[in-house]
């Protein structure tokens, strides 16, 4: 299993901060989610970090066992 992490408002959409999902290509993972959540996670302004490293090409992501993929909305700090 892999772990998805939802930051900021994505947590509200997902109904929780994290979710365990089976591995595989990201597109295949997303279609198993609720459609509103999948849409929110797919927005252009959402950045992704795989195991703590920012990923620029989301199409290249294939989740393996133990991977952590974080969905990062625009920041609003300080």
């Amino acid at each position: 299993m892999a772990k998805l992490v939802f930051l900021g408002r994505l947590e509200d959409v997902a109904g929780g901060a994290e979710r365990e999902v089976p591995g595989g290509p990201l597109a295949g993972v997303l279609v198993t989610l609720e459609s509103d959540l999948a849409a929110a996670l797919s927005a252009d302004r959402i950045r992704l970090a795989l195991n703590g490293t920012l990923v620029s090409d989301r199409n290249a992501i294939v989740l393996g066992d133990g991977d952590e993929l974080a969905f990062l909305p625009p920041v609003s700090g300080g």
Binding site: V5, L7, G8, R9, E11, D12, A49, N51, G52, L54, E68, A70, L72, P73, P74, V75, S76, G77, G78
Partner: protein, 155 residues
């Protein structure tokens, strides 16, 4: 700048005493002619009952450390302090404290302001506010990006 000067960069999940932190930092900066600082705090009186900042462990503190290193690269500093809260805060609580010590006043001011502009616009924090008992997530403000862009040309 000499990279041997360590920056004190912290991400705290509990409240902190900004005055005590600044006093401790200042006491160690005997060779600095000046110390510029900025304290950001949860404003009272704006109707906000509470404020929460969330961070993402693998990115947030490393990003702050990279920002501190960049400030030290750009200006000649004797010391740099950068403390940022995560978690829930109430009006009057400190959110962020930045202090830069330098021989020259201009370096201290510029480094502190640079750090604040980037903490606001680039650091991995997500904010929500509680107003009238309801929490809502805060979108980034365009002005924060403009503040950061001021530095892009300055190399």
């Amino acid at each position: 700048m000499p990279s041997s000067v360590l920056a004190d960069v912290r991400l705290l999940t509990e409240s902190f005493d900004a005055g005590a932190e600044l006093a401790r930092f200042t006491a160690a900066q005997v060779e600095a002619g000046g110390i510029a600082s900025f304290l950001g705090q949860v404003r009272a009186g704006g109707g906000v009952e509470a404020l929460e900042l969330r961070h993402y462990g693998p990115l947030t503190l490393p990003g702050m450390e990279a920002l501190a290193a960049e400030a030290q690269r750009r200006w000649t500093l004797e010391g740099l302090l950068m403390i940022h809260r995560s978690g829930e805060m109430v009006p009057g609580d400190p959110i962020v404290l930045v202090a830069a010590a330098a021989r020259h006043r201009r370096d201290a001011f510029a480094a502190a302001e640079f750090a604040m502009d980037h903490l606001k616009s680039e650091s991995w924090f997500w904010k929500r506010e509680k107003v009238g008992g309801q929490w809502s997530w805060i979108e980034p403000r365009p002005v924060d990006f403009e503040d950061k862009r001021r530095w892009d040309a300055a190399g």
